[in-house]
Amino acid sequence: MTIVHHPPDELLTAFAAGMLDLGQHIAVATHLTGCRHCRRVVHAMEHVGGGVLTALPATAMSPGALAAVETRLDGLAPAVATGLRKAATGITDVPGLPPFVRDYPSSSWKWIAPKVHLRPIRMPEASATRVFLLKSQPGTKMIEHTHTGFEMTCILTGSFAHAGGHFGPGDFDFGDGATDHEVMIDSSEDCICLVAMQGELKLNGIIGRLLQPLIRM
């Protein structure tokens, strides 16, 4: 798998800093699952975070804080590594998702337009960013749309092309409000993407009108 399109540096830094909402976090985490290069950038940014933390000025702790903490130490059991839980009913049939997303409750594909199915990702947290899987059959041409917020797309299987380039498995497509897409699915297999989207969609055409109420869910 050769990854050509990566998230911008600001996004990887925001991920490492813990500044993303859960929906955005899921999109970046999905890219990281398949991209060792970006995992190392995030790791480097966590080291920068350590440097930033160490360089912050000290704020005096409340009197007796250390003593109060020390009395609680004996009651603490050593932590156990957060192993991966086995998800019996999770999203186990879609490749390329990070382990924690695979653990989310599964939902079923919904037909939204000819050759296009959508499957919502049910997050355990309220998030300003919606996340869903989109499955398009070969040859599907998505109608152009614009939106007022950003859109992050992680390609899991298949491929598509638009004015911004060609996107295959592992690639990350970042669109802000200014981007207009006319997307052509050009793989011979289904193209499954994880999409994280914020802002109101202004979709044009028939697919847009069909998608709009579903994505608002």
Binding site: D9, G18, A29, A44, T54, E70
Partner: protein, 195 residues
């Protein structure tokens, strides 16, 4: 400070790693107190700048150090620097605190730890890569000018802190943001290619 000579930073990092190892191995309370004295007041500042009240910033800093105690056995000096590791603890506590504030979650930080676990396990060369990363980051930070270091800090806080820092540096917020982009590019260049 961030731009101390790399030698100082290296010995500091080694010292903190040794203290965490002593906590893990022997439940060494003196080592813990030393970690508390250095990190708790800085984590408190980190939480204050993230919008926490005086009292909850204090509590979160205490929680972070309790986590350092109980997770010390999971600290792997080959795959993370001590301050980077403590930073991730503070970061995940901050996320948890923000979620609690919105009353959407009471599950604690274990789930958040999982959310940062993006692959099925460390790659075989993870240890080597981490050691390289740490020394690269350290020397990259050491070469950055002060004003760029100051804005790098901004990436770790939200707009509230950006406005505050713009005020301290007496420059417009727009300038802070463009300076941040510049500093990130510079840092990225210094860190080199990770592929």
């Amino acid at each position: 400070m961030l731009n101390d000579k790399p030698d100082d930073a290296t010995s500091d990092a080694a010292r903190w790693a040794a203290l965490i190892a002593a906590v893990a191995r022997e439940k060494d309370r003196e080592a813990f107190a030393a970690l508390f004295t250095h990190f708790a007041p800085r984590i408190k500042t980190f939480m204050r700048r993230s919008g926490a009240s005086e009292q909850s910033a204090d509590e979160l800093a205490q929680e972070a150090l309790l986590a350092v105690w109980s997770k010390a056995n999971l600290f792997d000096p080959n795959s993370a620097g001590a301050s980077a590791w403590i930073f991730t603890i503070a970061r995940n506590l901050r996320i948890d605190a923000l979620r609690r504030e919105k009353r959407t979650r009471t599950a604690g930080t274990d789930d958040i730890d999982l959310e940062f676990q993006v692959d099925d396990g460390p790659s075989p060369d993870a240890g080597l890569a981490a050691a390289q990363t740490e020394s690269r980051v350290r020397s990259a930070l050491a070469t950055l000018p002060d004003d760029q270091l100051r804005v790098i800090e901004l990436s770790f806080f939200d707009d509230r802190a950006h406005a505050e820092i713009a005020q301290t540096l007496q420059i417009p917020l727009g300038t802070v943001k463009s300076r941040l982009r510049l500093a990130m590019n510079r840092l990225r260049g210094l860190l080199g290619d990770f592929s």
